[in-house]
């Protein structure tokens, strides 16, 4: 396995598999949404690793690839609702970029069912909770992202 991959024992079998989810979130909305979920004691699975970035417009597509390289089983990209961007239009730029990037990933055969996009505002703690729970459950059902893991293992 790659030096970066820290998949625990049992990660290669679905039994006892704990998915690793990387969430790239914007500083102004989704991060605060996640924070609100916390302060409201809305429990969500600890499988998600939150990475806070200034804006969805900043989220380079390489980061999604990178997340899979270091062992993510699913990725969430989330930011402000359209019109709410702190920088006015970062999320509009991101939306267009992701629409195209998903097509490329699809052609290359990277599982787009493991990549989620959402708009979660600072007031939507409950949405963050339910979406993360759903992603974790679905990923658990899908099992580890074996394709990418084997690719990394070969590197």
């Amino acid at each position: 396995m790659s030096s970066e991959t820290t998949a625990g024992a049992g990660a290669n079998s679905s039994a006892g598999f704990e998915p690793k989810i990387v969430a790239f979130v914007c500083n102004w909305c989704t991060y605060l949404g996640a924070d609100l979920a916390g302060t409201n004691r809305l429990e969500y699975p600890a499988n998600v690793r939150i990475i806070r970035l200034p804006c969805t417009g900043r989220i380079d597509f390489n980061l999604v690839v990178k997340a899979f390289e270091v062992g993510a089983d699913a990725v969430l990209v989330s930011g402000c609702h359209p019109g709410d961007c702190h920088y006015t239009a970062g999320n509009f730029h991101a939306r267009r970029r992701w629409k195209l990037f998903r097509e490329l990933l699809d052609t290359v055969g990277i599982d787009t069912n493991r990549i989620y996009f959402s708009w979660i505002s600072a007031a939507e703690g409950a949405k963050f909770q339910s979406l993360v729970t759903e992603i974790v459950e679905k990923t658990r059902a899908m099992g580890p992202y074996q394709d990418y893991r084997s690719l990394v293992a070969e590197s």
Partner: protein, 297 residues
């Protein structure tokens, strides 16, 4: 047509409209066709025009070695002409300072793997509906013939050539596609021939060459080659003109243009965007309030 082309270039050089003309000549092994840089009217007989004129010469427009030669005239096919437009749209060249000599192209043949001429035309030519280059300063060749060829290809343009190859690929399962590319990319050596041959990969320092910090690993390991090929293709989203230079240059014979074609199709389908139209703002870098967001929760 060859005579007409030579005369046009001779005139440009004689009248000192340009200092150098970038065209095609028999320069390679066994007379293989590659770029020639003609700087004097006496040398125009080096220029050739035939179906072996594969390279997209627009790649030379942004190279410092070529810019140092002075004012440029360039010979283009229709797909190459679109690359010139994108370069101008992206402020990489001053369009008014370059003389673009377009030649009606009836398709170019692929080189075989051993470098010799094949009989087979490039896949891009099978679905070409633009045989006469647009946005050129001088047009050489028969426009009526070009229109005829356009009309001939039009009904099957969306289903032939590379489109057929891509459709076949997209019909596989995601898992099968992954395995397909895994096999293809396993031959990738990270030489960057795809990047260097692309007229639109003009960055002075490619993101793949940035090492403080490293954006993507430079290794030709499996994860390195996936990261690189995704990066290269996506940086051409909304910009690629499907000239096929990347795939033609790949020493490992990887059909990289299929990745680009995915994005060309997506740009058309979702944003009604075609790269290479003069004055049109870039696809990525602009946005519309009405962009699709069916995939966003």
């Amino acid at each position: 047509m060859e005579t007409e082309l030579r005369n046009a270039i001779r005139k440009l050089l004689e009248e000192k409209t340009v200092d150098v003309a970038i065209g095609y000549g028999r320069v390679g092994v066994g007379g293989a066709v590659g770029a020639v840089f003609v700087t004097s009217p006496d040398e125009v007989d080096q220029l050739v025009w035939n179906n072996e004129c594969r390279q997209n010469l627009a790649v030379h427009l942004t190279r410092p070695e070529i810019k140092a030669l002075g004012k440029i005239a360039i010979v283009v096919k229709a797909c190459d002409a679109r690359a010139v437009v994108v370069l101008a749209n992206e402020s990489q060249i001053k369009r008014e300072e370059i003389v673009v000599v377009g030649v009606v192209c009836e398709g170019v043949v692929k080189a075989r793997f051993d470098g010799s001429n094949g009989e087979q035309f490039f896949e891009k030519c099978a679905s070409c509906v633009e045989h006469a280059p647009k946005n050129v300063d001088v047009l050489i060749g028969d426009e009526a013939k070009a229109a005829e060829l356009d009309a001939k290809n039009a009904p099957t343009a969306a289903t032939s050539g590379n489109q057929a190859k891509l459709a076949k690929l997209r019909a596989m399962t995601s898992e099968e596609r992954f395995q397909y590319w895994r096999g293809e990319f396993s031959r990738c050596v990270r030489c960057y021939a795809c990047r260097q041959s692309c007229p639109l990969c003009y960055c002075n320092r490619c993101v793949a060459d940035k090492n403080r910090p490293t954006r993507i690993e430079t290794s030709a390991s499996m994860k390195g080659v996936f990261a690189w090929n995704l990066l290269r293709a996506f940086h051409l989203a909304g910009r690629c003109v499907s000239c096929g230079s990347c795939a033609a240059a790949c020493p490992a014979g990887i059909e990289l243009d299929l990745l680009n074609l995915t994005l060309v199709n997506a740009a058309k389908e979702h944003f009604n965007y075609v790269a290479g139209e003069p004055g049109v703002p870039p696809l990525i870098g602009t946005y519309s309030l009405d962009d699709e967001e069916d995939f966003i929760r």
